[in-house]
Symmetry: C2
Subunit: 375 residues, 2 copies
C-alpha cells in the first residue's frame, strides 16, 4: 500500500476528524489544504517558502504537465518530486477537469476524450489508461482516476450518464494503474448536485475499494448550501478509514464547512490566483490591497499572521508593489494567502482534537469584518 491513513480523533460535535496520512514522502496532517502547483510550481512560491508556511502536500496538474514539459521528460528527470525539487507529498489530478474546462473541441466517447491543447491547439486523446500512464510517469504519491466532470447546472439525465461513464472509467483506471505500491489511486465520486446520484456514485466506488475518494464536480458554480448538502449525503457513505478529498475547493469558509462535514483534503488555485490580483485572505476578512484606503496603512497585512509577508512588510508597501506591478507583490501575497489557509487548517485540527470545532469555525467567521469569501 502506498499510503496509510490513521484517524487520530473524531470530533464529538461534527463529522470532522483529525488524521495522519502517511505517503512515501512523509506525513500529511489532515484535514489539509493542498496548494496547487499546476505547472510543476506553485505559482510565485519556491519550495522553501512552501515548507516554511507548513505545506505538507501539494497538487500537480496532469493535463498541464502532459502538455508541457511532457510527462516523459518529468519521468526522465526522476519524477515530479525531483523535477520541481519538492520532497513533500504530491497529488496529481487525472486531467479530467482540465480536459473538460480548459481545452477546446473535446469529443467524449466511451473510450475517452479527444481534445485540443489550450497552448497550441494540437490534438490529444486521454483515456483512463492514458491518464493513469501519465500519472504513473509523473510519480505523485496520490493519483486520481480519470473522470468526467460535469458543469453546473447539469440535467439529471446527463449527470447520470456522465457518472456512469466515470464509474466505468474508474474501473479501467484501477486496472491500468501500474504502481499501486508507491502511488495511491483515489476514485472520484461524481453525480452533479443530485443527492441520489451522489449516493449511487459513492456506493459504486466504495465497492471498488480505493484507498481514498475524491468528491468531484462541486464548486463549479452551484450555491454553497447545495455543495454542503451534497457533502452531507455523500461523506457518510465513504468508509471512515479512507481519506475524503473535496476537489477544487479552497475559500476559507468552504474549508471549514467541508471539514465539519467530514472532508479531509482540499485543493484550490484560489489563494494564489487572487493573490496575483492583489486580494488577500486575512483573519479580518478579505483585503483588496490595491484600494486607496491602504496607501498609508503602515500596519501588517494581517496582524495575526506569522508569514514572511506579514512579519516584514506593510499594507502600504504591498499596495505600492501591486500598483507598480512588481513580481514581489505576487510572491508575498501568494505566500500570505497560502499561509492563511494552512493556518486555518492547523486551527481546525487543534479545535477538533479539543472537541470545540464549531466554536472555532464561528470565531473565525465572526472575525471577518468584510464580506465572506464569495470569490
Amino acid at each position: 500500500m502506498a499510503i496509510k491513513f490513521e484517524i487520530l480523533h473524531e470530533c464529538k460535535q461534527t463529522r470532522a476528524r483529525v488524521g495522519r496520512l502517511t505517503t512515501p514522502h512523509g506525513v500529511v496532517n489532515t484535514p489539509v489544504f493542498m496548494p496547487v502547483g499546476t505547472q510543476a510550481t506553485v505559482k510565485a512560491v519556491p519550495p522553501r517558502d512552501l515548507k516554511e508556511i507548513g505545506a505538507e502536500i501539494i497538487l500537480g496538474n496532469t493535463y498541464h504537465l502532459y502538455l508541457r514539459p511532457g510527462h516523459d521528460l518529468v519521468e526522465e528527470a526522476g519524477g515530479l518530486h525531483q523535477f520541481m525539487n519538492w520532497d513533500g507529498s504530491i497529488l496529481t489530478d487525472s486531467g479530467g477537469f482540465q480536459v473538460f474546462s480548459l481545452s477546446s473541441l473535446n469529443r467524449i466517447s466511451e473510450e475517452g476524450v479527444l481534445f485540443h491543447s489550450h497552448i497550441d491547439g494540437s490534438r490529444h486523446f486521454f483515456s483512463p489508461e492514458r491518464a493513469i500512464a501519465i500519472e504513473n510517469a509523473l510519480g505523485a504519491d496520490i493519483i486520481m482516476a480519470f473522470d468526467e466532470c460535469t458543469p453546473y447546472p447539469c440535467e439529471h439525465s446527463y449527470a447520470k450518464e456522465a457518472m456512469e461513464r466515470t464509474h466505468r472509467w474508474a474501473m479501467r483506471s484501477k486496472q491500468a494503474h501500474k504502481r499501486p505500491d508507491t502511488q495511491a489511486l483515489f476514485g472520484i465520486i461524481q453525480g452533479s448536485t443530485y443527492a441520489d446520484l451522489r449516493q449511487e456514485s459513492a456506493k459504486f466506488l466504495v465497492d471498488l475499494d480505493f484507498p481514498g475518494y475524491g468528491i468531484g464536480g462541486l464548486s463549479t458554480g452551484e450555491p454553497k448550501p447545495l455543495m454542503y448538502e451534497m457533502l452531507e449525503v455523500t461523506v457518510p457513505l465513504i468508509p471512515k478509514d479512507k481519506p475524503r478529498y473535496l476537489m477544487g475547493v479552497g475559500s476559507p469558509d468552504c474549508l471549514m464547512e467541508g471539514t465539519i462535514r467530514g472532508v479531509d483534503m482540499f485543493d484550490c488555485v484560489l489563494p494564489t490566483r487572487v493573490a496575483r490580483n492583489g486580494t488577500a485572505f486575512t483573519s479580518q476578512g478579505r483585503v483588496v490591497i490595491r484600494n486607496a484606503t491602504y496607501a498609508r496603512d503602515f500596519s501588517p497585512l494581517d496582524p495575526n499572521c506569522d508569514c514572511y509577508a506579514c512579519r516584514n512588510f506593510t499594507r502600504a508597501y504591498l499596495r505600492h508593489l501591486i500598483k507598480a506591478q512588481e513580481i514581489l507583490a505576487y510572491q508575498l501575497l501568494s505566500i500570505h494567502n497560502l499561509r492563511y489557509l494552512i493556518s486555518i487548517m492547523q486551527g481546525l485540527r487543534q479545535a477538533i482534537l479539543e472537541d470545540r470545532t464549531l466554536e472555532y469555525v464561528r470565531s473565525v467567521l465572526s472575525s471577518y469584518d468584510s464580506e465572506p469569501y464569495n470569490l
Copy 2:
C-alpha cells in the same frame, strides 16, 4: 560624515583596490556590485534572498519612487529602508538619467528639467534642489547630485555645455543637501566620451570635495574600449581616499575591467532584466535557458554557483518555467544572476588582496565557452 571609506589594499598589478565603505547601515566591501531596486524592490528578489546572496548595498531610483508611491509616502513610512524592509545600505540616484531617458517631452533650462511622467503623462519639474529634497526624504545612505546625462554619440560642444550645467547643478545639489551627517552626497563626473571634458569635470568636482564620485554618462552605447579609456583618464584624478562609482555598468567583463581601472562601485539592471528574459550569467558564459538544447539538461544552471537556484534546480526545470512563463523562473534566474555578479566581486576582492587581479580576470574570462556578455 555619513560614510567612512578605508582602503584595505591596493593591487600591485593594477589600479584596483579593496576598500571598506561604512554607512549608517553597515559595511560595504568594495569593489561592490549594487543590485538595482528601481521601485523599492529588486525585481522578483525579496530582501532575505538579497542577504543570502551577499548583497550589502542596493540602489533605489529617485525618479521612479518620486512618481510612485511618492517620496512623501516613503518618508512617512520611515524612509526607504523601512518602507522596503532592507536594513543594508542604499544608494539613490538623482533621477537625472531617467528624466532624460524614460520621460518624454523634457525641456532643459538652467533651472532644471521639465518632464512628463512615463506612467500617466503628468507634468513634473526636477531641479537640483528638488531632486535632493526628494533624496533627503527617501533617506538613502548615499545620494547622487542631479546631473544631465548626455546620450551617445554626443557632439563635443553639447557635451561641454551639459557638463558645465552639471557642474553648476552639482554646486546647487551640495548647497541643497539637508542631511550631510546621515546621507553622503556624491558628485557625478560627466563629459561624454571626450577625455578633455572628463578630466575637466573630474577636476571641477574634486575641488567641490564630495565624499565620493559617480562617473556618469557611460555605458550608453559607446564601444567598451572607449568606456575603459574614459576611466583611465578620469579615475587617476579622483583622490584615492574617495569611492568611485561607475554608474549603470554591470556586465561581468565590464565589472572586472572597471575594477582594474580603479572603480569601487557598480550598479546595473542588466542581471535582473536579462533574467526575466531567460538569460543567465554563468561561470561558463551566457546561458539562454529557453534554448531547446537545455530541455533535458538535468545539471545545475552553473555548477560553480552556490545560489538557491543552482543548489536546487536543473536547467531543464528552469527552461520549463521560462517556457511556461512561470514567475518562479524570474525569481530563480534573478537570484542566480545577482549571485554570479556578487561572486565575481568577491573573487576580485580576494584576488586584489593577493595581488593576482589580472590572473583572476583572465581566468574568469577564459572560462566562458560562449560569447562574452555583449548584452
